[in-house]
């Protein structure tokens, strides 16, 4: 078959029923085209065939015969100029992790061409753009930038801007809009084979035997492996890896995997939340106590299949709170509100699937892995395989999203390494979408029982919250613990109960515990405001007097939609609009041991850390820290940023919003140390007098030598490694959370946020539409405003998905995840986006090194709660379940 791709002729030999994406990625090597869902739902694989956008994952390869195909790599002119749409995506930050970007850019270009042909250089409406891009999904939530980019491109704003003059907000933006960025899934090593994992199909069973003989007899199979990691040879949830196979190609590996015969002794499983919660000591599944991992090492006790804290860490005057609540319940206090909430399970589903490519050369390992913890992974791998520092290198230049799902050393990484070791060949193991959704990360399902007591003076008397967390086969959940930090001054008795089941273990997911806890607590606070007939914002002002939060309220109070709202507003008629407010808190974490190296030499300045960029912009953040110190721009050719690789430097994992506050000030410290070295080197070399240095360069009695000149005169290199160090105040969590080996600290003072949301509820069709959001965040100094803003948009977007659409479901009879694809795990699309406003409040973090903390988590915490409160305001019906599906609205609003 002959095809022209990006103006180049190709001739392909086709396998029967091959898909276009395989030919494009594997045969033509054009890995800018991404494979995400394989089902037409996400559009990441979009290519243009004769200019028309098509999903290459569902397109028979034979359809490319004789056709002109354009992939993301093919939009540059001969002079290397990018398409206006590509430039616009760079300038308007229409991307974060970048994994969806090739698909969006291609669909966007198809739209741009049609639009400008028919309408000239005019601005399309958001709705028009939403219709054209309805076939593309972005998990990071870069939709605001995408709207802005397409509108600007269609208006012609980039027609005459040379690519070199486009100002982008991430240093790697150009690689992402051209498809050059290599993710783990795109890495190729000559002679590599492909692996497939065989997983348990039972939730609870003993593996009696594994017969590999049929699989091994298949031509092209290289090796097989028993990978069951359990000392009792027992699987404890559907999807537990049991065996694996590596073969010459993916199809052979998959076929051979299906021939591996596993004999099970099937036990009675405890699959459903309900069933497990109901268990008593008499019928408890005792194996949970020994085998379910995780949880804070706080004194706790078991009852049935539920593990509860003896006393939660964050309870305040717990005894008094408990007694006050009991009395109020007994007396039927008028100012008591008791309510139960439910929040469903929620899959991270980053668009880049989990995966690794392992390559042993003798006793040296090169590992490509999609991870949120390069440095920690390196340490575990060294330990596991007895490797020295020089025997391992990890490459993770770009990560197509994680959100917590890649925040552990997931088993498939070890399986790839083991298969590579056994077969003595490079092995690639990439999970499919079903594996990503079902087994590779989700937020726990929770039942939340919350009570709050006030009085006619609107005082906060007490709060009680008991949260039951179904974390699957893990001790998981901290919603009550976090909720108690919202109004910390008041008496509260909270507890988190981990209900263990034979379901895949949950993983920390953006704002873990914060989001569901906020939904329950902020819903009852809202309800109390109505009961007391007080403006919900005023009530929060009264209850949360912290100056940091008062500044949030000051801003939100001015929001026009809030000012014009009625106290209790129930529109007549079918469409009902309402506004809701909610607060969000998140702990502030950092890694005191984090190290950053800055090097200066004649060829420039470099900054190095073993951090990874999963789309939050950490590469740019680090580069900016260096560039700023030297009074340069991060795009300056002198600035080199080394991240995404395993190093000798202690580096934070991405998670808990800790990266920026761990590395930004540290990079600036290292930069200042290097500046001193440059100054002294220069003064020795040139015999300068009275040498000091400042942002502009080296100052001496004869004037100032700019940093640029100073560097160019260096003989050899100067270098410094700085360590973050501890802030004077805060609590060490080393060992307690055991998230990484180098010490995780909890700093003093939470990052906080508050959001107002305006919704429209279509009561006829049960549909909730988020029209606008206003988010105010207090996290101190924002190091990189554009990236932070994008992250905020992403958090709000993800919060909308959690509040309204996403619903990961398990079949109760078998323990299998039912919602295995992106069609059923309904993540928000571009048409679901409200207009968003975000403000950052810089005050409140002067006591923190660098003056600011992360916002990744806190951005998402209040979203679902503020939507639910807006639905109440609109309809008079209070949602108590997430997601708020049309079925709930139809049944709720009568």
């Amino acid at each position: 078959m002959k095809t022209t791709i990006n103006q180049k002729e190709y001739e392909f030999d086709l396998q029967p029923n091959a898909a276009a994406v395989d030919v494009i990625r594997d045969q033509a090597g054009l890995t800018g085209t991404k494979f995400v869902c394989g089902a037409g739902a996400c559009g990441a694989c979009t290519v243009l065939v004769e200019g028309n956008p098509m999903c290459s994952c569902l397109l028979p390869a034979s359809r490319l015969d004789g056709k002109r195909v354009t992939t993301i790599e093919g939009h540059q002119t001969a002079e290397g100029e990018l398409h206006p749409v590509q430039k616009a995506f760079m300038a308007h930050d229409g991307l974060q992790c970048g994994y969806c970007t090739p698909g969006f850019v291609n669909a966007g270009i198809a739209f741009y061409e049609t639009w400008t042909k028919a309408n000239g250089n005019t601005k399309p409406s958001r709705d028009t753009i939403a219709a054209a891009l309805a076939g593309n999904l972005c998990r990071c939530g870069a939709y605001q930038g995408i709207y802005a980019a397409l509108q600007a491109a269609c208006e012609g704003a980039f027609d005459n801007v040379p690519t070199s003059e486009v100002v982008s907000h991430r240093v790697e933006a150009i690689e992402k809009v051209t498809g050059r960025a290599k993710y783990t899934t795109d890495q190729v090593v000559a002679g590599m084979g492909y692996a497939k994992v065989v997983r348990s199909i039972y939730p609870f069973a003993k593996v009696k035997s594994i017969d590999f003989s049929k699989a091994e007899a298949v031509a092209g199979v290289w090796t097989t492996l028993d990978v069951l990691d359990d000392d009792e040879r027992t699987v404890r949830f559907v999807g537990t890896p049991v065996a694996a196979v590596a073969a010459v190609d993916a199809k052979t590996a998959e076929h051979a995997a299906s021939l591996i015969e596993i004999e099970y002794e099937v036990y009675d499983a405890v699959v459903s939340f309900k069933q497990s919660r109901a268990a008593t000591e008499a019928n408890a599944e005792k194996s949970f106590r020994e085998k379910a991992k995780g949880g804070l090492p706080v004194p706790s006790k078991w009852n049935g299949n539920t593990r509860s804290y003896r006393l939660s860490l964050t309870s305040n005057k717990g005894f008094r709170a408990g007694r006050t609540m009991r009395r109020a319940r007994a007396s039927g206090d008028d100012f008591l509100i008791d309510k139960n909430f439910y929040a469903g399970s929620h899959a991270h589903t980053p668009l880049e699937p989990h995966g690794a490519l392992a390559h042993w050369q003798g006793d040296k390992l090169t590992l490509y892995a999609s991870t949120q913890r390069i440095q920690q992974l390196s340490d575990s791998a060294k330990k596991r395989y007895g490797l020295s520092d020089s025997q391992i290198s990890i490459i993770c230049d770009h990560v197509g999203g994680g959100f917590g799902a890649k925040g552990n050393d997931y088993p498939e990484i070890w399986i790839a390494i083991d298969l590579a070791k056994k077969s003595q060949k490079p092995i690639r193991l990439i999970l499919d979408r079903g594996e990503v959704i079902a087994y590779s990360g989700h937020r726990e399902e929770t039942e939340l029982e919350v009570g709050i007591l006030s009085n006619q003076n609107a005082d906060f008397k007490a709060m009680g919250m008991e949260v039951y967390n179904n974390g699957g086969h893990a001790i998981d959940g901290n919603a009550a613990t976090i909720a108690a930090t919202f109004y910390p001054a008041w008496p509260q008795l909270v507890n988190d109960h981990a209900v263990v089941t034979h379901q895949p273990p949950a993983k920390a997911f953006r704002g873990p515990g914060g989001i569901n806890g906020a939904f329950a607590l902020e819903s009852v606070v809202d309800e109390m405001a109505y009961k007391l007939d007080i403006d919900p914002l005023e009530l929060r002002r009264k209850w949360d007097t912290h100056p940091q939060d008062q500044q949030l309220f000051d801003y939100l109070e001015e929001v026009p939609a809030w000012q014009v709202r009625d106290r209790v507003k129930v529109d007549k008629g079918r469409y009902k609009r309402g506004v809701g407010l909610a607060m969000g808190h998140w702990v502030h974490l950092y890694m005191p041991g984090a190290e950053v190296r800055v090097t200066a030499g004649q060829d420039g300045l470099s900054v190095e850390s073993g951090i990874q960029d999963i789309g939050q912009g950490s590469r740019t953040l680090l580069g900016t820290a260096l560039a700023e110190a030297f009074g340069m721009s991060v795009d300056d050719p002198l600035i080199k940023i080394k991240t995404g690789r395993e190093t000798d430097l202690a580096s934070p994992q991405t998670g808990g919003s800790r990266v920026s506050s761990s590395v930004y000030p540290t990079a600036q410290d290292a930069a200042r140390q290097v500046q001193a070295q440059i100054a002294s080197a220069l003064s020795t070399k040139q015999g300068l007098q009275n040498v000091s240095h400042g942002p502009d360069g080296v100052i001496h009695s004869g004037g100032t030598v700019s940093w640029r000149d100073a560097i160019s005169q260096l003989d050899g290199e100067v270098q410094s490694v700085a360590t973050r160090g501890r802030d004077a105040k805060g609590i060490g969590l080393t060992g307690m959370l055991d998230l990484d080996g180098t010490g995780l600290y909890m700093g003093l003072g939470p990052s906080t946020s508050a959001q107002i949301t305006e919704v429209e509820v279509d009561t006829r069709l049960g549909k909730v539409r988020v029209l606008r959001t206003w988010s105010a965040v207090a996290a101190g100094r924002i190091f990189l405003e554009e990236a932070a803003r994008s992250q905020m948009y992403g958090g709000v977007t993800m919060g909308i998905g959690y509040a309204l659409y996403e619903d990961r479901q398990i079949d109760p009879a078998t323990g299998h995840t039912v919602t295995l694809n992106l069609e059923d795990c309904r993540i928000p699309g571009i048409g679901d986006m409200p207009e968003m406003e975000v403000v950052f409040m810089p005050e409140g973090f002067d006591h923190v090194t660098g003056g600011g903390v992360g916002i990744g988590e806190v951005s998402m915490v209040p979203v679902a709660a503020s939507i639910a409160n807006a639905v109440y305001h609109a309809t008079g019906w209070r949602p108590t379940r997430l997601p708020i599906r049309p079925s709930d609205v139809i049944e709720g609003v009568r």
Binding site: R63, L765, H816
Partner: protein, 306 residues
């Protein structure tokens, strides 16, 4: 490459048109891997008129059905259905023939380890499992509604399908009454849809509408095509079809009857729509679809009137 209908129907295997359904099921090992590629059949991607009727070749893409001025002007309920389903990328490639004969979208069907009558198992796993997207007219077997948006729209147009270039059948005949829980349609192995035949256009108010949770690109919870022929302000004829609620697309003759002779007002629409759910026996998780069906029909009628 196959170039005639006869060649195609003499082969044994499974037809491959746009591939948007076939290729997905291929990944789930749910197809006959002997694909019979229809791509080479010429003339089947045209929209033509003859003797007042309209003939849409089975290989016409949904994008082209949605865009064709002739269809938009005369069969708005079909054009809007074709333009409102799936995603822009899928509509580019997917064909009208493939849409009518696509396989069920039930999660249990595509899941490798769960039971589904459509893949030959004796019972339906979704029945006692997860089925909020299931039917409201339950007939005791498979709980999944029929997936085809266009099949539903064609019910409202009383369309016919041409099989193997010769045999002509009413659209409803290719689906039957939904009692066969192992099949998505009743075409024989060697039967190929070659054309869709639409009756001569009439002056009508018609539209298509779907109820979904997100803004776009989501499988319908309930969907409806409504056509009203109005004289003065009296409804002369009404054609209402709904999807997402039963094992096959449904016409709603009692709703139609309640509309005929009434004036085209919000009140008569609301009254007639009430009858849409007559006889509904929802599943434990689909109760909400009963009011949603009524409301979606009402909404579609209001939008049809414009």
């Amino acid at each position: 490459m196959i170039s005639t209908v006869q060649e195609a129907t003499n082969l044994s295997g499974e037809y491959l048109a746009g591939g948007t359904d076939y290729m997905d099921r291929l990944r789930h090992h749910l197809v006959n891997e002997n694909s019979i590629d229809l791509n080479g059949l010429s003339g089947l991607d045209q929209i033509e008129t003859e003797g007042g009727k309209t003939y849409i070749g089975a290989l016409t893409s949904m994008f082209n059905v949605a865009q064709a001025p002739h269809i938009r002007q005369n069969y708005a309920g079909l054009a809007e259905a074709a333009g409102g389903l799936a995603t822009p990328q899928i509509r580019q490639v997917g064909t009208i023939g493939g849409n009518l004969t696509q396989a069920t979208r039930c999660q249990y069907y595509r899941h490798p380890h769960l039971e589904c009558t459509k893949k030959g198992d004796a019972s339906c796993g979704g029945r006692d499992g997860y089925h909020p997207y299931g039917v409201v007219f339950d007939n005791g077997g498979c709980v999944a509604p029929h997936p085809s948006t266009l099949g539903m729209a064609l019910y409202a147009y009383e369309a016919q399908v041409e099989i193997n270039g010769a045999d002509i059948r009413p659209i409803a005949d290719i689906y039957g009454d939904g009692s066969n829980h192992h099949r998505d349609h009743l075409l024989g192995k060697n039967e190929l849809i070659t054309k869709i035949i639409l009756p001569a256009p009439v002056a009508e108010k018609a539209t298509y509408f779907r109820s979904i949770a997100r803004a776009r690109a989501e499988w319908a919870l309930v969907e409806c095509t409504a056509r009203l022929v109005i004289d003065g302000d009296k409804i002369q004829q009404a054609f209402i079809a709904v999807g997402g609620v039963a094992a096959v697309p449904l016409r709603l003759p009692h709703v139609e009857a309640a509309l005929v002779g009434k004036s085209a007002t919000a009140e008569s629409f609301a009254d007639a729509a009430q009858l849409a759910a007559e006889g509904a026996n929802p599943l434990p998780q689909t109760g909400y679809k009963v009011p949603l069906l009524v409301n979606t029909v009402e909404e579609t009628l209001i939008r049809a009137l414009g």
